[in-house]
Symmetry: C2
Subunit: 148 residues, 2 copies
DNA sequence: CCTACTTAGATGCAACTGCATCAAATTCAC
DNA sequence: GTGAATTTGATGCAGTTGCATCTAAGTAGG
């Protein structure tokens, strides 16, 4: 390892960076224009919704979202203050807590999807055919694997 | 437009987001560990280096890097304070300025590449073969096109 | 020219992030 | 079991980003 990247690798890296910025900027702009909070809120709410009544420990959410610990801690503060999430004491581990989405959280998550979904379509779907999207998803999945 | 994305499109979007985070985190971590400033500094220095003696107007750099205007303005402040870049008055347009990289800037850009290059290889090159990298770069380029 | 409009760049303020560190609970090794 | 090491989550502080707005200079339209 630690060799030099070839030109195609560099092109892929730059493309990754730019494509993600363009797509994210477009999607975030639509959410903001519709008066919704940023994507990170959606992601957190969605994970909690998928987790169901069980809820999730903050550290689990942290790993699912690839968030820094301190960022997640403060995101939860904001979500809680907004009434979208509740922190409950964790029965097994007295250090910890269990997070659960509230009905308001469910509602917001759902409303956001109404804007988020067409935004994804515009930022990604409209620029690729079905086969391309499939290939892209596969290649990106390889990059996301953290070998460490 | 504004239709719903299909599952592959959603998978591509999520993959884009995660792959970029994983790759960027790895690369930034290596730069930081080597005592270097963040990637944004590299990008700005590299653009200015490519522009050569002509230099670049801030708004050109802004578009090249997809930076917000106020972020670029302050990034230039920091680069200038660090002696890596100089702001010169623009002869044609008295509102504006021309940016140029200094010898110190050239030196730092070059030293950073020594860490950045293997970091790209580790984050991207090592996870894809040559053909995959090529295909990925092509697909990502399509996403970066801003139709507006 | 003179007013209206646009463009280039800076900046005050609030929100957010990163870093370092902390306290408390749990786990591990002996 | 007891002390060391690890894990969970919070937080003070400094640095950065986002928003809104501002000034100055260029560009039109009459």
């Amino acid at each position: 390892m630690s060799t030099k990247p070839d030109d195609t690798t560099i092109a892929a890296w730059i493309g990754l960076s730019r494509a993600q910025r363009v797509a994210t900027a477009g999607i975030e702009a639509r959410l903001k224009a519709a008066g919704f909070p940023p994507l990170a809120w959606y992601d957190a709410l969605w994970e909690l919704e998928r987790a169901g009544g069980e809820g999730l420990r903050p550290f689990e959410l942290e790993r699912a979202l690839l968030f820094e610990q301190y960022n997640l801690s403060r995101l939860i503060d904001r979500l809680e203050k907004a009434g979208l999430v509740v922190r409950r004491a964790c029965p097994n581990d007295k250090r910890g807590q269990v997070l659960a989405i509230t009905p308001e959280g469910l509602k917001l998550r759902c409303e956001m999807w109404g804007v988020y979904a067409p935004a994804i379509e515009a930022a990604v779907g409209a620029k690729l055919d079905a086969e391309e999207a499939k290939v892209l998803a596969g290649l990106l999945a390889k990059l996301a694997i953290t070998s460490a």
